[in-house]
């Protein structure tokens, strides 16, 4: 069984982002970048399944500019076998990414495609579901537990009301929640080894996919700031303020 895992390079989750003064976007120059956190969970899960002897190959793929390849290299350092980098510059919408992934799936013929449930930059939460639609495969979104069975997966999904369990036939798409597992760190020897693992580079234009944006980002702005609050001295003062000033209890 072959698992393809899609990873995205985003501004590191610990960075307090800054909006550009001209309203054209957020500042990305000289800002720490990393793999989108739930994509790390997707890689970890695929590697774990391989370690259990239930998968034979884990292929990490990213779609994006030159530097996006770092995320594939990181995936290789934690256990992916080889990488694919579909090179494309500029803004990419989830629809375009899912079309690119569809082309790669046609060629690679994986049994499973994993990715994070949402990227923490655009917060779209679309790509996995879109790819699943384009391939007409089953989708298990927001997965917090995956059991690999014969030709199918049993997946526990985190939903607003609690948990839901579904069974999906392979081939299938799974989008991973942060609670799926605890991603491992890459050891130094594995980082060195990863440098020798192959990464295939593909130009997006060779895939025959129209990636031009359908959405126009007219403006990016700071959200309204909250007025600074006060510190209260003790619990009695807090309750008094809530009762008489804010009038919320």
């Amino acid at each position: 069984m072959k698992i393809l895992v899609a990873v995205k390079r985003v501004i590191d989750y610990n960075v307090q982002i800054r909006v550009k003064e001209d309203g054209s976007g957020v500042v990305t120059d000289n800002v720490k970048m990393s793999t989108n956190p739930p994509d790390d969970n997707a890689i970890e899960e695929a590697v774990k399944i391989k370690e259990l002897g239930k998968a034979t190959e884990v292929v990490a793929i990213t779609v994006g500019e030159e530097k996006a390849q770092e995320t594939v290299r990181k995936a290789l350092a934690v256990g992916a076998d080889r990488g694919i980098h579909v090179k494309v510059d500029g803004i990419l919408e989830p629809l375009a990414v899912s079309k690119i992934l569809q082309k790669v799936v046609d060629k690679e013929k994986p049994d499973l495609v994993f990715m994070g449930k949402q990227a923490i930059d655009d917060d779209c939460n679309q790509t996995g579901q879109m790819l699943s639609a384009l391939l007409n495969w089953p989708q298990a979104t927001f997965a917090s537990k995956i059991d690999v069975k014969e030709n199918k997966l049993e997946v526990t999904r985190e939903i607003d009301e609690g948990l839901e369990t579904i069974e999906i036939n392979i081939p299938a798409i799974v989008t991973c929640d942060l609670r799926l597992n605890e991603p491992r760190y890459a050891s130094l020897p594995n980082i060195m080894k990863a440098k020798k693992k192959p990464i295939e580079e593909i130009a997006a234009s060779d895939l025959g996919v129209d990636v031009s944006p359908r959405l126009e980002q007219l403006k990016v702005e700071e959200p309204p700031k909250r007025k600074a609050g006060i510190k209260v001295a003790n619990v009695a003062e807090l309750v008094q303020k809530l009762k008489n000033e804010a009038k919320v209890i």
Partner: protein
């Protein structure tokens, strides 16, 4: 062309956020039709027809729609979408799971989680966990839009009398099978719509200690929230998580106890009207968004808080 609203329900009744999504839909275009897909969902369809903003209800019932599987729902809506300019739905786990599947079939770039309708093709949405707002214009002929429910008021729930048209069911998608749903039942208000939310974080130190949060919530008639750290640590179940990848809440009062205030948590609660933070670390980022901050050990502060609440003659519910 009219707007098609996808109703969220549990086969017995509408889920409350359908009303918020209906408001957003009516801001895009006055002509709102609503589709309800389910099994034995006639009562929910009737409720939908009573929303004054809904002009027509389309109802589709079949056994394979009972569990809201996106693979079964999407083809029904894709077929209906021919007659509509927009398809809209709540951006909760139901809509997040379903809408992109529809959008991909329609070859349209979805606009997720909007917080404002600027015009029928232009929307405001948060990005980077709400640390920036983007104004997005869609140039697709058909627009798929999910709505952040807490950013729109619920529409009126009675007074309307839209016609209910029954449609034929589509085929079943055989590669996905529903097994079970574990819903946590509670008499407390729902987290997403509660007037008061009391949340605990890693500072609670254990699942047992979360009973302190429960006591405060019971006293105030509040819903219980949690930070991701508290859920990850197993103190409380995932349906309580507030934040970028959990639920977004905007109560009148949000009380954060033992929560440091990571960017990802603030994303889910910083639009609350009044925020209270109780934390022993005076430098914790949660204080930067708090209207009232109390620097204190929560294990001393919570019992005192209960004592002070007990002294009050009345508490608003």
């Amino acid at each position: 062309m009219a707007v098609l609203l996808i109703a969220e329900h549990n086969n017995k009744e509408l889920r409350p956020f359908t009303l918020n999504a209906a408001t957003a839909a009516s801001q895009i275009d006055e002509d709102v039709h609503a589709v309800i897909i389910g099994q034995n969902s006639a009562e929910a369809a009737k409720q939908l027809s009573e929303l004054p903003v809904v002009k027509k209800v389309l109802s589709v019932e079949a056994a394979h729609y009972e569990n809201f599987t996106a693979e079964n729902f999407a083809p029904v809506i894709v077929k209906l979408a021919e007659n509509y300019s927009h398809v809209v739905c709540s951006a909760n786990t139901f809509g997040k799971n379903l809408m992109p599947r529809i959008a991909a079939h329609l070859d349209t770039s979805q606009v997720s989680d909007i917080i404002k309708v600027i015009s029928p093709d232009t929307f405001l949405r948060p990005i980077y966990a709400g640390n920036a707002f983007a104004t997005i214009k869609s140039n697709d002929a058909k627009k798929c839009v999910t709505i952040r429910p807490t950013s729109f008021d619920p529409c009126d729930s009675s007074g309307g009398s839209a016609s209910i048209e029954k449609l034929e069911a589509g085929e079943e998608f055989s590669n996905t099978k529903f097994i079970k749903r574990e819903e946590i039942k509670s008499d407390r208000p729902e987290l997403g719509t509660a007037r008061i939310v009391v949340s605990g974080g890693r500072g609670m130190q254990s699942g047992d200690n979360f009973r302190l949060i429960t006591e405060v919530a019971d006293k105030l008639g509040a819903a219980i929230g949690a930070s991701r750290a508290a859920v990850d640590a197993g103190y409380i179940s995932n349906d309580h998580q507030v934040g970028q990848t959990g639920k977004v809440v905007v109560p009148d009062l949000y009380i954060a106890i033992g929560i440091s205030g990571a960017i990802q948590h603030l994303a889910g609660m910083k639009e609350s009207k009044i925020i209270v933070a109780i934390n022993k670390d005076g430098e914790a980022p949660i204080f930067s968004v708090a209207d009232y901050g109390l620097e204190a050990d929560l294990f001393e502060a919570i019992p005192q808080f209960m004592e002070e609440l007990n002294k009050l003659n009345t508490i608003q519910k």
